[in-house]
């Protein structure tokens, strides 16, 4: 059965609009087929972001893509609107080292990223390198902006960056996301490497009630908003928290987007929604108090009534 013109047009638009598209079973995070999983694994190492289409979503889609590609199996990889192949072919291209070329510079970084390594970080690495037995240092950044710094054997396809007297190897999938990263070393109670990534979009960060207590005790600038109802506030409330009523909202809207703000509710989920809303509204430093006022009663102040 031939596919409808509408579906053909949709599929054509999909593969032309996205530089890299993988038609697969289920999702990148949860592939439901060994072949799809193998291709995801190969692409994840090379491409920070690519589109996937779940063919199990509809039989028409599944048959349609097979017809469009003239290829009977799933997964199917498209690059720049062109059909590349299925699992076997992607594996073969990866093994021969041709895949980065096929994927092209628009997708896979070919230029090493620019990194800044502070003097303190360089010194800390020099000390650590002695223990690492001469293995090179790697920086990895994934699509969720989780950063990893580690010593290990050199891997194929890594790009070499020289910064602050150090050589750092960065995988091609990480390169674009790592561009502009500053690596610093902080001394003190929370000593360790600190990475600042300008590419990272702002997101809601978590605060435990105890961390919140410490910040407030230190007198750090932080505006805390309580999103609960009037009835709940009557039962238990924190002195420092401003109810997010009309007055609270007016105050919130008057704040500078870079002002640190935190949201509190009963168990932490209404406040997370409010925090997410604040991110979408343009606030950059937004926290959610995990576990809410209930967790505060349990871990910080047992005198505060629970309900």
């Amino acid at each position: 059965m031939a596919m409808s013109d509408t579906l053909r047009a949709e599929l054509t638009q999909l593969v032309e609009k996205n530089p890299v598209v993988l038609f697969m079973k289920r999702s990148r995070k949860n592939p439901q087929c060994g072949f799809s999983a193998q291709v995801v694994k190969i692409l994840d190492e090379l491409v920070p972001q690519y589109a996937t289409v779940d063919v199990l979503a509809s039989p028409e889609l599944r048959d349609g893509i097979k017809e469009l590609s003239d290829w009977p199996t799933i997964p199917q990889l498209y690059v720049g609107g062109q059909f590349v192949g299925g699992c076997d072919i992607v594996k073969e291209l990866a093994a021969t080292g041709e895949l980065p070329k096929v994927l092209g510079a628009s997708v896979v970084a070919t230029e090493p990223p620019t990194l800044t390594v502070t003097a303190a970080a360089a010194q800390a690495f020099a000390a650590a390198a002695v223990d690492a037995g001469g293995e090179p240092l790697h920086l990895q950044v994934d699509a969720e902006f989780r950063h990893d710094l580690y010593f290990g054997p050199r891997e194929p396809n890594e790009l070499e960056v020289h910064a602050g007297g150090l050589t750092v190897l960065v995988g091609r999938a990480s390169a674009r996301l790592a561009n502009g990263v500053t690596i610093d070393f902080v001394e003190g109670a929370e000593s360790g490497f600190k990475l600042t990534n300008p590419n990272e979009p702002p997101r809601v960060r978590s605060l435990t009630p105890r961390e919140l207590q410490i910040l407030l005790a230190k007198g750090e600038r932080l505006d805390l908003f309580d999103v609960r109802t009037k009835e709940e506030l009557a039962i238990a409330r924190l002195e420092r928290a401003l109810p997010l009523d009309e007055t609270g909202e007016r105050y919130l809207n008057s704040l500078d987007p870079s002002a640190p703000i935190a949201f509190l509710c009963h168990h932490g989920s209404r406040s997370r929604a409010a925090a997410q809303h604040a991110i979408e509204a343009g606030f950059l430093n937004v926290y959610n108090v995990e576990g809410g006022i209930d967790a505060w009663s349990l871990t910080v102040d047992p005198k505060l009534p629970r309900y």
Binding site: P72, T73, D88, I89
Partner: protein, 87 residues
């Protein structure tokens, strides 16, 4: 091992072999596997000068009718190898 239902009657191996030879007359076909999953190796002069994509497409084209629909006898080809005979 996974199994997949099919309404196909007869030897699936033989059907795969026959379908490939019908399209590529000089093909030497080896078929292995069961439970809807197959390993196929095809050797033919037809593949000379063709890319892996073109070669595999030729073979898949020959067996497409065995792979379509929910009750297809061939659920998946685990490995498809295409070779040019060594001189």
């Amino acid at each position: 091992m996974s199994s997949h239902p099919t309404d196909f009657q007869g030897s699936i191996d033989e059907a795969i072999r026959a379908s490939i030879v019908a399209r590529i007359p000089d093909a030497v076909v080896e078929v292995g596997g069961a439970g809807g999953h197959f390993t196929i190796a095809v050797t033919s002069t037809e593949f000379a000068g063709k890319s892996m994509l073109q070669s595999q497409r030729l073979v898949y084209g020959a067996i497409a009718h065995l792979m379509s629909g929910n009750l297809a006898p061939v659920h998946a080809v685990d490995t498809l190898t295409t070779r040019v005979p060594s001189a």
